[in-house]
């Protein structure tokens, strides 16, 4: 069976800016083929020149990405997409836009049940200007709090419209374990949100604004406990990590290490079968990463 496809869920209440984030993704998806499942094409800002084919409930883009509308059933839309991809196309990443009242964590569970998918992260977008008022609403407050709890990464959007940002940050940290990324119009590096490409390779020290990536290589097998401790103890500013590792306790196996926010997964992906050594890339906020030890 081919390698499972990373599966990301973008959640957050109505009007927080999920679509803005998706628009950025579709425009900036250089070299990576995303399949994006959305509630409504209408809200997407797709340049007419970029559309390769419009098939009713799907739009194929010239850059290889595909948008599908979810319609009434995410389950059947997703299964349909997986079947389509087995027959014809191969996507590098599947992104689902959760409805504004859905619990995105429940949607991410689908990737755990589906061997063809690998759960990547739950990104919950938060409207800095509105979230506390809406979270106090008797009819939707609990829905919003469930979304915050389900997040692996929180994107605090519309910070230009927020009042007391430090107080809001404190409040969010009390609702959710997830690291908080601040944005204005969903302007965040895509690698941070959707991870690195399949190999985990990315230019060392590449930076976008306040963000940086940092990579490690180890020619010899790595002590499992040491690496996990390093990731567990990594400061909150480390937002993502992806590595392909030979652990000393299983040097002939290929372990894939995956960190999104505070969520760490280690999976066995078969025999090592690789000439290079272990490697790990971390993404996060610039100042802290610069301080991490290289070895």
């Amino acid at each position: 069976m081919s390698e499972p496809i990373p599966f990301t869920v973008i959640g957050g209440f109505l009007g927080v800016g999920k679509t803005t984030l998706l628009n950025r993704l579709l425009r900036g998806a250089e070299g990576r083929r995303f399949a994006v499942l959305v509630n409504d094409f209408g809200a997407l800002d797709i340049d007419g020149g970029l559309v390769a084919a419009h098939g009713g409930d799907t739009i194929a883009l010239a850059n290889g990405c595909l948008c599908c509308t979810i319609g009434d059933s995410l389950v059947t839309t997703l299964l349909g997409l997986l079947e389509r991809q087995e027959q014809r196309e191969r996507f590098d990443h599947i992104v689902v836009e959760a409805s504004g009242v859905a619990d995105p964590g429940r949607i991410a569970d689908l990737a755990v049940l589906e061997p063809r998918l690998a759960r990547d992260g739950v990104i919950v977008v938060v409207d800095a200007a509105q979230v506390r008022e809406r979270a106090a609403d008797r009819r939707v407050g609990d829905t919003i709090l469930r979304q915050l709890k389900a997040a692996d990464l929180l994107v605090l959007n519309k910070t230009d419209l927020a009042g007391d940002l430090p107080a809001l940050r404190d409040w969010l940290s009390a609702q959710s374990m997830a690291p908080i990324l601040e944005a204005r119009h969903g302007d965040l590096p895509l690698d941070l949100l959707f991870g690195l490409d399949r190999t985990g390779a990315s230019g060392d020290g590449s930076t976008v604004g306040a963000f940086a990536s940092w990579s490690y290589q180890w020619p010899e097998p790595v002590e499992r406990a040491d690496l996990l401790a390093m990731l567990h103890e990594a400061p909150g500013e480390v937002l993502r990590a992806k590595g392909i590792v030979r652990f000393a306790d299983a040097p002939d196996r290929r372990a894939v290490v995956h960190l999104v926010g505070r969520r760490l997964d280690v999976s066995d992906e078969g025999p090592w079968g690789d000439t290079a050594g272990s490697r790990l890339v971390m993404l996060g906020l610039k100042p802290v990463l610069g301080l991490l030890p290289r070895e």
């Binding site: 059947t76 949607i107 755990v112 049940l113």
Partner: protein, 544 residues
């Protein structure tokens, strides 16, 4: 031009000017009149048909909330606790233990081709004294092919080992909806999204098509017809082309035994697109198929612990349920269809959901005043007197889920709602007293289609264990019969065309073996249905 006069033991018309008659005359598929033979002969030459001479004729029953998916699931074996009648009139006996379910499915398994998945539906363990179905039970059916047994609520399923293995579900799988035993091992019971995903995985995506293809709608129509139904809704459908084609083909046949009203699933496409789509579909309407309804689903279900409730919430402390379309999103959808002149049916189980539905209609009316919209709350199970008064003031209707009283009333009393709110759920007497036009329904396939049973529930309010759930909300038999005929027709804007036996209306009748107004109210559900007449064509129900 033939005029047929049917003689009957009694004709119950629902027309207050002439509530009872001995004969009914039919010409060109329409009702020429009800009265005495002498009176009806005044119309000219008539042919007297006496086949119903010992039967009782009522207006054909109108099921205001059902799903054609009832016909879809009959493709698969039914393994529920309660007896149920299949499309061919075949009696499917209730299975009273897990062993009976396993034995029935072992027999079925032997008939399946190699490699095929086994799907069954209707399973309901709540009467098995707490014993749940586990992996070992389902593995007795097969450890080779995937087996998925869907529960009667359609939100929970049991699977066998091959299904779990294929999905890689083990004791370390940490996913909502995977039930584990005391030792932490998966029991094979799956809930909500996990259940749905695994059912589709086992059966293939074509399952969705199978559930609403032309054969499915035929089976649905037959099940409905057996219960005396002549008009039924398919109250939530995305209406893809393949389904519409099947519906058009089926309803184009003279032998198709019901009139069908699909409700367009409003959230399946953006409203602006949906309005245009539905407007185009209405051009395809025929005598037996009517596109005119829209459905919006706000919350989940009470027994599924996903209803949106006002304070103080679930009786057993379960957290409040989930929105499908919540208070911030409903206006956008409702207003689009409201402005376009469509009638919108809003699914609301919990009272917070009803509140959201009512307030959304209020805002829509302020934004775009409209008379006789008849927007209807579907289920409105927890609506209280105040909410009914608001519905009345806004010109709304309600379709109450009377069957719930019997099937889940005990659970509502003990766990979900508690005694006080359980006793006033599905408040037919309040609706009647306040003057909200209302129907009562089955939500098939969630419960079996059978308007006489539904009426029996509204009249007697008995739970499965025999508890009377709310003496004060019982309604008289005559009102219950109105709710399954003219009352339901009103909630579908069909009351000028059908729902009573009156001059000029469609000749749609339910032919009963006995007089529902004369039998003891406790026997209402046992009144036999001989068959139906649809547009003057007689459909005798096959005898099991």
């Amino acid at each position: 031009m033939t005029t047929t006069v049917y003689s009957a033991r009694r004709v119950i018309t629902m027309n207050p000017n002439r509530p009872f008659a001995t004969h009914v005359a039919v010409r060109d598929g329409r009702i020429l009149g009800a009265g005495s033979l002498e009176e009806l002969k005044g119309w000219g030459k008539v042919e007297l048909d006496t086949r119903f001479a010992d039967k009782v004729i009522l207006p054909g029953f109108v099921e205001g909330h059902s799903h054609a998916f009832e016909g879809g699931v009959w493709k698969f074996p039914y393994v529920g606790y309660f007896d149920r009648t299949g499309p061919e009139g075949k009696h499917a006996p209730g299975l009273k233990s897990i062993d009976e379910v396993v034995a029935a499915l072992q027999a079925h398994e032997a008939t399946l081709p190699k490699g095929a998945s086994l799907l069954a539906w209707g399973f309901d363990p709540i009467y098995f004294g707490g014993r749940r179905m586990v992996l070992a039970d389902v593995d007795r059916i097969s450890t080779e092919r995937p087996v998925v047994i869907i529960h009667s609520n359609f939100h929970v399923a049991n699977a066998n080992t091959p299904v779990l293995a294929k999905a890689g579900i083990t004791r370390t799988t940490n996913v909502h909806g995977i039930v584990k035993d005391a030792k932490g091992d998966p029991t094979g019971e799956l809930q909500e999204m996990a259940a749905k995903y695994m059912a589709y995985r086992a059966a293939g995506v074509e399952l969705a098509a199978v559930l609403s293809d032309e054969q499915a709608v035929w089976r649905f129509a037959r099940v409905a017809q057996l219960a005396g139904v002549t008009t039924a809704t398919d109250l939530h459908n995305e209406l893809p082309e393949s389904t519409v084609e099947g519906y058009l083909k089926a309803t184009g046949s003279d032998d198709f035994p019901i009139r069908l009203l699909p409700a367009f699933a409003a959230t399946s496409v953006p409203p602006a697109e949906g309005v245009v789509r539905l407007q185009a579909l209405t051009k395809k309407n025929n005598d037996k198929l009517r596109f005119q309804l829209v459905k919006i689903v706000t919350d989940g279900s009470i027994q599924g612990l996903s209803a949106r409730m006002r304070w103080p919430g679930y009786y057993d402390g379960t957290p409040n349920g989930v929105w499908n379309v919540g208070p911030d999103d409903i206006d956008r959808i409702l207003l689009a269809y409201h402005r376009a002149g469509f009638q919108v049916h809003i699914h609301t189980n919990g009272d917070e959901a009803s509140e959201v539905g009512i307030e959304a209609v209020e805002r829509a009316l302020a934004a775009a005043p409209r008379w006789d919209h008849r927007h209807t709350l579907q289920h409105a199970q927890m609506a209280d007197a105040g909410q009914f008064r608001r519905m009345k003031a806004l010109g709304m209707c309600a379709n109450l889920f009377a069957n719930h009283l019997y099937y889940w009333g005990d659970i509502h009393y003990a766990k979900t709602l508690g005694p006080e709110r359980a006793e006033r759920m599905d408040a037919c007497a309040t609706a009647l007293g306040v003057g909200v036009p209302f129907a009562i329904h089955c939500d098939a396939p969630v419960t079996p289609i059978g308007p006489l049973f539904t009426a029996w529930c509204a009249v007697n309010r008995l739970t499965a264990s025999g508890r009377t759930l709310g003496e004060a909300e019982k309604i008289p038999v005559a009102d219950a019969l109105r709710a399954i005929t003219l009352g339901a027709a009103y909630t579908l804007k069909l009351d000028e065309e059908l729902g009573s036996i009156d001059v000029g209306k469609r000749a749609d009748f339910a032919i009963l073996d006995d007089d529902p107004l004369s039998v003891p109210p406790g026997k209402l559900k046992d009144v036999g249905v001989w068959g139906t007449v649809l547009g003057g064509k007689v459909f005798e129900a096959p005898k099991a």
